[in-house]
Symmetry: C2
Subunit: 413 residues, 2 copies
């Protein structure tokens, strides 16, 4: 519940000076700390419901998890989704979302929503595009051949990927948009650097991110929670400086941003785990591999968002557990389009309880893939999201018994 306290207390006289203290409708409680590492189970409480952590947030970039609808997400027992400020600002635009009473109503999703700030797009459409790198360096070659974003101290100038029109996104505008969207958890506007950026550039971007963090806090006029974002690239002193500064500002939660090499990310998490106060929920932005989940939860991460399960679903990769042959080497996935599945009557996974596995064979899915049927995208996305969400549930259950490291070993060895 939101509280707006007036110091003056005289509601009748509107001319009286009033100080409004906003109480975010947000709470984080640690339920269980694993004894053997930093992994913990918690509950985030929001106006739209609770989120059990560690949590995975399916991504609904354009107000829809790709190929799926709200009923699918309810069936999958997703407790929170991530939506994209930059994309929704361009299409359908704020006037539309506002006229529909906010994003929850617009997309018919009654449970919690987190929104990013648009900062990541400043990277992915800007320096990331220039350097040809995505979230994980070398993992994703961006589809953009031109630089679509330019950063200065005041904000980011975007050239819309729809029509090339200019959009100047500032911390204040980002928060304004997120307030209209009405997400339960907002993210502060940041500059995400490329893993190829220099120390000096990372320092400049970090300082900018810090100023923007303060501006975001100042701009917030609602009871929505706001997470601050730690940047600083792969440089220990910058990361530590950023963590100390961001954690000093009174954000409701902490997010870790950046575009990494894999090993560098684990280093960063080690450094940050020593600085971020234990009572704050910590979100690791845009991360979504089995290996990363285990290594990050171990270092105290409480939530993740990533397009991996749906994006890989659409190109034919289905996730499998260790019992079915999933391992680090095959990245816990099978390529359902392979000829060997042509007559395979088994589901993707014998043990999986998702709609897809309960009803359809690998042979059928392979056929849908080959003939490019639209139903393929939905069935595969359902399976992959279920895999991610169930993995998080297994991780929570292991932590409750202080057996997280055993589970990690079972999966990663």
């Amino acid at each position: 519940m939101s509280l707006a306290l007036t110091v003056d207390g005289d509601y009748a006289n509107k001319d009286n000076f009033q100080i409004i203290i906003l109480m975010p409708d947000f709470d984080f409680e640690i339920k269980q700390q694993d004894e053997n590492c930093l992994a913990r189970v918690g509950v985030i409480k929001t106006k739209h419901g609770k989120i059990q952590t560690p949590a995975f947030l399916p991504v609904a970039t354009n107000a829809s998890v790709k190929a799926l609808t709200a009923d699918d997400m309810v069936c999958l027992k997703a407790e929170v989704l991530m939506a994209n400020t930059y994309h929704l600002f361009l299409r359908p635009g704020l006037d539309v979302i506002e006229s529909q009473g906010g994003l929850h109503k617009f997309m018919n999703w009654d449970l919690p929503l987190m929104t990013d700030s648009g900062g990541f797009q400043a990277f992915s459409l800007g320096m990331g595009a220039k350097h040809g790198v995505g979230k994980i360096a070398g993992d994703t070659k961006q589809a953009f051949s031109l630089k679509h974003a330019k950063v200065n101290d005041d904000g980011v100038l975007f050239y819309s990927h729809y029509d090339g029109s200019k959009v100047f996104l500032t911390p204040e505008l980002s928060i304004h948009i997120q307030q209209i969207l009405g997400s339960d958890i907002m993210l502060s506007f940041d500059e995400c650097t490329s893993p190829l950026s220099s120390y000096n550039y990372n320092k400049i971007a970090m300082m900018r991110t810090h100023k923007w963090a303060e501006r975001c806090l100042d701009a917030r006029k609602t009871d929505q929670a706001l997470y601050g974002i730690i940047q600083g690239g792969i440089f220990k002193d910058l990361r530590e400086q950023s963590a100390k500064f961001i954690c000093s500002l009174g954000f409701d939660g902490i997010a870790i941003g950046g575009s990494f090499g894999k090993n560098e990310m684990y280093n960063v998490l080690d450094w940050l785990s020593k600085i971020i106060p234990k009572e704050k929920p910590v979100h690791l932005l845009g991360i979504g591999t089995v290996e990363d989940f285990f290594n990050s939860v171990e270092k105290g991460i409480d939530s993740f968002d990533c397009v991996t399960p749906t994006r890989l679903a659409r190109v034919g990769f289905a996730f499998i557990r260790p019992e079915e042959g999933g391992n680090v080497k095959n990245k816990f996935r099978v390529d359902i389009g392979r000829n060997e599945y042509k007559k395979d009557e088994r589901p993707i996974s014998e043990k999986c309880k998702c709609y897809t596995c309960k009803n359809f064979s690998r042979a059928y899915l392979r056929h849908l893939y080959v003939v490019k049927e639209l139903s393929f995208y939905r069935l595969m996305s359902i399976h992959n999201l279920n895999f991610f969400l169930e993995l998080m549930k297994d991780i929570r259950n292991a932590i409750k018994k202080c057996e997280f490291l055993e589970l990690k070993k079972y999966w990663l060895n």
Copy 2:
């Protein structure tokens, strides 16, 4: 249940001559005849369940109704689907379908299935492509610039639209494929002519279709029902000749094929209604507009199949009833991509009980359309199929009260 009666009766001696009489697992019962026209309500019974007629069959060309899965079709209360012999023969191929125990199991659909014979593709990939016409003359310009099929008396030579490989489809092969698919209702292999074909060509094609009809009946070795197809173009004497011949052969039901001008189709149905025995169920192939439904049911048609609801859904057309402004002029549909729906909080239809209308606004659907979200195709297809299936239900209810013509007037005036 299927019966295989032996005249000899001596099962022990396998060398004895036996005549097997196949009893198709099929029954058609007329429940109510409208007093004022030929419209009737009936029930088709098959091994996989009953079909209330007049019925609309959603089309699952490649073993999936486009953008939807079996659960969606169950929610929509579809009682029967149409699948395509030609397409499924090419992909995934008979060996795959056979290995999976037939099409029902493959696509996880436990209710009745009808399969076409591949004859229509001889037209749409052959003469139809050459003449640039589709099912309704002038309505659909085929995407094929080359002729992909050649017909002779023995069958049709196809060049696969996947890889150009040659497939020679004969009546015997068509029935063989449909038997492996295991549909409840098969269609005989026919030659569909172009509306631009001459009288003489139509006569040649009709005679061919008649010979192929006999060969199909001879080829059937299972208890699946088999419908004969009447051809003869837009020529009264040919249509009458074809109807008399096809109806004399002992098919379980009758299908009406052809590519028409709209008014010519109604003439054809008038001529045929005087010849086809009343006790036979009659299927009108590939027809799917509101106007056609009413005009055809009035002339005794019991079932329809068409890709219209799903194909139009994918390009943004949503069907609406007269209460919501649907009429013959606007073809009972709205273009959901229009700017006027940008902030429209209403569902496509206030009275519609489909999942889409109960949960999403026109504004949301328009947004999904604009940003090309995959979920759009599913939500729109659900609505349009629900519209078609509910319309058939309304038609059945009107016939039961002998008020079909009143309902027709309400919709078409």
